[in-house]
Amino acid sequence: MNETDLGLWAVPLAILGGAIRVSTPFLFVSLGECLTERAGRINLGLEGTLVFGAMSGYAVSYLSGSAWVGILAGALAGALFGLIHGILCSLPRVNDIAIGIAMMLLGMGLAFFFGKGFIQPVAPGLPSIELGRWSDVPQVRAALKINVLFFIGAGLAFAMWWMFRTTRLGLIIRTVGDSADAARAMGLNVTLARVLATAAGDALAGIGGAYLSLYYPGSWNEGISSGQGLMAVALVIFARWNPLGCFWAALLFGGAGALGPALQSVGINQGYYLFYAAPYVFTLGLLFVTSSPTRVMAGAPGELSITK
């Protein structure tokens, strides 16, 4: 109520608010994918996990009455998908990209199959923190109403960055991802490390999905995802396999997603489909500029099939 007329200032504010609201699923799937890829595997199936996480998170939140139990369910479901992906890809000659596509299909199929009964009920959602109480401007207050998962995700990005840099666990994951032979020489179990990294990464994607259904947009239906999981692989390349980069990439992508509606709201309507496609064009442009035909991308794990 009593909204202040912000004029064109509404656009940057909407992009900021949108970036925070929309970015969280991107953040979780890209961190998950980053973890998996740093261990040398690529998981193209996060879209399936995301959708299944959204369904199972919503369903369990509804049945248990607690959104946090729902988040946990989304994470566990994701971990299970990741385990299957990880184990199947450990078999010789099984292609991780193809298994990813298959898991995506299976995840979406199972989510829609079991999700029919949960489209109608209203499940308890996640709480948010009001960081904008200092402001008199309702739009600012709304933009700064931030979900806890956003902070958890941001903290996680930092923690993962620190882990890769300084901890033994980080070193193990990096070694496994850069050279399987070197890792074996060090006595590491490459397969186990990769399976666990995939399971953990997929668990994060499950949480990202549960955010979609439990907070924003905050309901379960078959169209809940608009390809956030599919974009994970692109975001990680974008972020140069750096978890902190994932955070910025997710924010950027979330903000770009808010651009279309925000521009329309101040009267810029021409070619609105093209505005909606802006994030994709932008990502493609950035990939084009930063890729190189002669060398492997900086930061890419050596064992990754996609950059070989």
């Binding site: 909204e3 109608q120 739009q139 905050g218 309901s219 078959e222 509606p261 021409q270």
Partner: protein, 374 residues
Amino acid sequence: MSHSNSFPRRRFLQSTAGLAGLGALGMLPIASAHAAAITVGFVYVGPKDDFGYNQAHAEGAAAVRKMEGVTVIEEENVAETVDVQNTLESMIRFDGATLLFPTSFGYFDPHILALAPKYPDLRFQHCGGLWSADKHPRNVGSYFGYIGMGQYLNGVAAGHATKSRKIGFVAAKPIPQVLLNVNSFLLGARSVDPTITCQVIFTGEWSMAVREAEATNALADQGCDVITCHVDGPKVVIETAAARNCFVCGYHADQSALAPARYLTGAEWNWASVYTAMVKSMQAGEAIPNFVRGGLAESFIKMSPLGPAVPEAGRAQFEATRARILAGGFSAFTGPMKDNRGNEIVSAGQAFKESDVELESMNYLVEGVIGSTA
């Protein structure tokens, strides 16, 4: 009626032979499916419990299912491609459906028009299309409701609830049915206060949850404090708007359960009344007219009960307006009227009633709507 040249007789014989073979195994209830007096098939473009367009039709189908001597078969998530032709034909051949309701607008041309001549004895009832005697098969009918009047009444309630005098509309695509709703919503609100404006945002898709939520937030950021929508499933818009402390008006189906305190009213389809009437005339052997339209008076549409947030003055004006619409002859579009680019769209002395077919090809936004059609 001879239809030997259009009906692929050989294939039909094959299919019945195949059916007989499996039926003999005792696994499939073929015989019972054909024994029913009438089998009615409903086809939906999305999930049938979407709190919106498809749910409204599925509620109609549920009412038909309760009727004596009727078998109802349904299929959801059927794309507007060769899929819908195959689905309809499958309902006809395997389940003996004789009355079909392909409920999505996009099913009409070319899909229903391609299939109907093949089955001249069956009836295809399509929602939203403009059937015309000189262009379309006789066994196809189109029906639709004057839901714009429902959005006009939404606007009356919104006009009384808004403090900022800005109301918002989340729309899928700039097509006539949607533009009529946007315009009607604003005109209803302007019947309360002529200074009210309505902001519209197009999402470009009939169902796209995150974008609908972002559009709703963008409207709230612009100061809109009553929001409605025309997308397939309004659930996300209603919940997001309520979370932003906006009032909401429903569309397609009753969404009051999603935001009881902030739901003003809603423009709902009343397909239960329409479909049971059509099936009844089919059972009685009467012809269903090929071109059917109806509004509040004909029970094609209905309004959700007014919510607690509508003030007393608003209730009175809402009921008075509803009574005028029910009485017939009411016109929301009366001249002189301009579109939001300054062009005259209704000249002085001219008035379009809900039943005027000119409204079905609307390509403008009226003065006071902030937004553009392309």
